[in-house]
Amino acid sequence: MITKQQLVVVGNGMAGARFVEDVLARGGRDRFSITMFGEEPYGNYNRILLSSVMAGSHDPKDIFLNSLGWYEENGVKLHAGVRVGWIDRLSKKVYAPGGVTAAYDKLVIATGSSAFVPPMGGLYDQSGEFKPGVFAFRTLDDCDRMIKYAGKARRAAVIGGGLLGLEAARGLLNRGLEVHVVHLMSYLMEAQLDALAGGMLHRLLEKMGVRILLEKFTTAVLGDDAVTGLAFKDGSKLDCDMVVISAGIRANVDLAKQSGLTVERGIVVHDDLSCRNDTNVYAIGECAQHRGQVYGLVAPIWEQARVLADVLTGGNKRALYTGSRVSTKLKVMGIELAVMGDKDPKREDDEVVTYVEPSRGVYKKLIVREGRLAGAILLGDGLAAPRLLQVFDREDPMLDDRSELLFPMSGEAKTPSVAEIPDTAQICNCNGVSKGKIVAAVKAGCRTVKAVCDATRAGTGCGSCKPQVQAVVAFACDGAVEEDPAAHYYVPGVALTKPALIKAVREQDLRSVSAVFKGLAGGREDLGSKVGLASLLKTVWGKEYEDERDARFINDRVHANIQKDGTFSVIPRIYGGVTSPEQLRRIADVAEKYNARMVKITGGQRIDLLGIPKEKLPDVWNDLGMPSGHAYTKAFRTCKTCVGTDFCRYGVGDSTGLGIKIEKRFQGIESPHKMKLATAGCPRNCSEATTKDIGAVAIEGGKWEVYIGGAAGSRVRKGDVLCIVDSQDDVLKCMGRFMQYYRENGKYLERTYDFVERTGIDALRRLLVDDADGICARLDADIQAAVDAYDDPWTESRKPVHPNQFAGTVAVAGR
C-alpha cells in the first residue's frame, strides 16, 4: 500500500477551496491527506457575490460554495477560523496559534488579498480598531457589519472609485443611504476604462443618484467617537456618518515573507506554480505573482487551481500555467460593462475603433493589433460582449468589417439582455429550454457551457442559441464560466484537437474508428465520437479507410434520410436541377409503385419521395436508375442554379452548365458538415448563391465571383468573396481547393460560415488564392483524389455490405 502524502492548503477562499475540489475530482483523495487552514470561521463562499449580499439581492446563505459538512464528507481536515502563524520549511511544518501544527509534503499557499487602507488620520479608535462607522469591504463579516450599521446611517462616503468601490456604493444606495464616492484619480475605474468611458459611467451613476467627487485625496476621518465626516487635502470636507474603504487590494504575503519565500508584489511562482525558492511550496490566487502579474479576477485564479491540481495529482504532469488574458464582464449598478486586454493603444500601428452614443450611455472601443483584438471596452451594450470575449480569449483573427463585431444584431430585432429577460423565457427553441432551467443547472453545479447543455439539452438542437445559452450561463455564474478543455477537441472522446488528431492517426497508422479508440483513447469506446471519427478517417485515408459501418449514423448506413416515423426519404440526384419528361415519368412511376406518402420539391431543386420503408430502399433505387442525391449526409449536397444564359434575358454566365459540372465533379464529397452550393447567372442572384456555403455569381466580362461561408438557415450570413476568376474551370478549381481545406481543418459539424469566420477571409485568401504557404498544389491533388474515389453508394442496392443492411425487421431463422 502506498502511504498518502500530506497536502496542506493555507487559505480557504475561492482559490484554495477550488484547488482542493479540483484535486478531489482527479482522485486526489487516494494520494493525499488534505489539511486546510481558513482564517474565516466558515466553509467557502463566493466572494464575488458579496456585493450582491450588500445590495440585498442575495442572502448570505446563498453564496456558500462548500459548507463545513462538505469538508468532512470529502475527508478534508479544515481548521476554520485559524490563522497560520509560521511555516518551517526545513522540517516542513506549519504552525498556528493554540498549538495546532500540520506536517506537509506539499504546501499550497492561497492566502488571497486584503483591502488596502491608504494612510490617513483618525481612522482608528483607542483600541486600534477602525473607528465606529469605518469599514473595509472584503469579507462576509465586513459585509454583515456594514449592513447592520447602514440601517442607522444616513449618508455614506465610499473611498475609491474602482470596481469594488462602485459595487459597495450600489449596495449602500440600495439600502437607502445617500452615497458619495470619493476618488483620487481624474475619472472612475481608471484601471479598466479610458477617460471617455469613465466620464460616461460617471454621468450614468450620477443619474442614479450617486454623488461623485474626483481628484480628492482623503487626509482624515473626522469624529471623536464615531464617524462624522471626511477631510480632504484641498481643505474641503464632507459630512457623513459611514465610511467604506475600497481603495484596492494588496496580496497577503506576510506569512510567505516571514517564511523566507521570494516575494515581490505577490509570492513569485514558476509556470508549475511552485515558489521560486522552494519547489515543495506552491502559491495560487490573488497572493501569487506569475510572470510579473498578480491576478484579481476569478477566471485566471481558477485556471491556476486547475493547473496545480493537474501538476500535483499527476493527471497531467506537464501541465503549466502560462498566464491569462484578462477579460471580465461586470455589472456596475445595473450598467453592463465588459472590458478586456488593453484599454488604450500601446503601439503606433494599433488600430482604434470607437462608437459613442452619449445620450444612451453606449460606448464601444476596440484596439486591434496585427489583425487581432488586443483590447476592448463595451459600456451599455451586453449583446456584443459574448462574441468579443470569445474573439479575445481565443485570439481569433478579426473580421475585416469591425462593425460586425460591434453591432452583432444589426438588422435583427433587438433582444433584451439576459439579465432582463424573465426566467420563463425560452432560450433553446428546439428543446424548449427556459432561462430558468439553465440558471438552475448552473446553481446545481454545472460550470461549463457544455455541462449545462448536457444537463438541459439546451443548444443541442440546431445550435443557433448557443451564444445566448453561453450568455445565460455567464450571467448565472456572475461571469465566472469555466472553459471546457474538451471544447477544443475534435470529438469529446479523444483528447486531441483536429490537427493533432490527424497527425496521430497518420503516425500510428490508425485506419478504423475502433483502432482510434484503442490507440488514442485507452480503449474506451465513446459513442458521441464515433460518427465524427468516421468522417475524419474517411477524409484522411480515402480508399484506404477501414470502413466500420457501425460508426455511421443510420442515414449513412442506408443512404437515405430517416424520418420521424422511422421511414426514409429518397432524393435522387438531378444535376443542376435540370430534369426531363422521361425522368419525371420514371420518378412518378416509382412514387406510385412504392406508395411514396409525399412527393416534394426540395429547397435544393430536387424531388423527394417520402415515406419509403428501409427494406424497400434498394428496389426504389434500382427502379429509379438515378444516382444518389446525398441528401442525407455531411457532404456536398446540391448545386442550385438559375436558368442562366440559355433562356434568361439577363444572364451573363452559363450558371446552369456550371452547376451541372459542379455537381458531377463534387457529388458525394464528404466534409465536416453539409455543403449547399448555388450558381447564379447574373448579380440578380436568383439562385441565392451569396448565402450558400459556396456560390458562384456571373458578372459582366465573362467573370465569376466565388463566394464562401454564406448561410440562410438557423443563421443568416452573406458569404465572403474568396476571389474573382475568368472561367468555369477556375471556379471548379478554387471551389475544390476551399472544400479540401475545409475538409482538413473544419471541426466536425462546423458549417462553412463558422469555419470561414473562425479562420478569417483574409487568411483564406492568402492561403487559397495567393498560395502563401505553398499548399495549393497539394490541396488540388487531394480533392482530385477524393473526386476519383467517388462511388455511388446506391450501387449497394445490388451488392449490400451485409445481408441485413436494409432489413427492417429480421426474420427469425428457424432451425
Binding site: 459513442l527 443510420i554 448506413r557 425487421t809 429480421v810 432451425r815
Partner: protein, 123 residues
C-alpha cells in the same frame, strides 16, 4: 416474418449472431412484441424494447457504444444493460435477458411472450 424457432419454456433462439453486423442493432419481431437486439464490438449482446420511450424512434437504427444506445431521431441516450435513461427524464427502456449459445446463436427470453400461433408455429 417469423418462422419457427425452437424454444425452451422461456427462451427463444433467434438464430446466428452474424445476422447483426458488429457494433449495430437489428429489430426482431417476437409475436406482437418488437425487440431490438444489439451486438457490441466486444462481443456483448443486449436486448431492449424496439421503440424509444421518447417518440418511438427505431432504436435498432441508433449508434451504440460503451454499453449505451443513442436513438437516431432525437439523440436520447439509454443504458443498454438496464434500460435507464441517461441525461434525460424519459421512461426507462424495457430490457430482455439475452445471451449467446455455444454455437453463437442469440438466445432471448421474453417472459410470457411467444410467437403468436398465427405468425409462427409452436414446436
Amino acid at each position: 416474418m417469423i418462422s419457427a424457432p425452437p424454444s425452451t419454456d422461456r427462451t427463444l433462439n433467434l438464430g446466428p449472431i452474424e445476422q447483426i453486423p458488429p457494433g449495430e442493432g437489428r429489430r426482431f419481431q417476437i409475436g406482437n412484441v418488437p425487440v431490438a437486439v444489439f451486438r457490441a464490438r466486444d462481443g456483448q449482446v443486449f436486448a431492449t424494447q424496439a421503440l424509444c420511450t421518447h417518440k418511438a424512434g427505431p432504436l435498432a437504427d441508433g449508434i451504440m457504444g460503451a454499453g449505451k444506445i443513442v436513438c437516431p431521431l432525437h439523440s436520447y441516450t439509454f443504458d443498454l444493460a438496464t434500460g435507464a435513461p441517461l441525461g434525460h427524464t424519459c421512461k426507462a427502456l424495457k430490457t430482455y435477458p439475452v445471451s449467446l449459445s455455444a454455437d453463437g446463436d442469440i438466445l432471448l427470453s421474453i417472459e410470457g411472450q411467444r410467437p403468436s400461433s398465427r405468425e409462427g408455429k409452436q414446436p
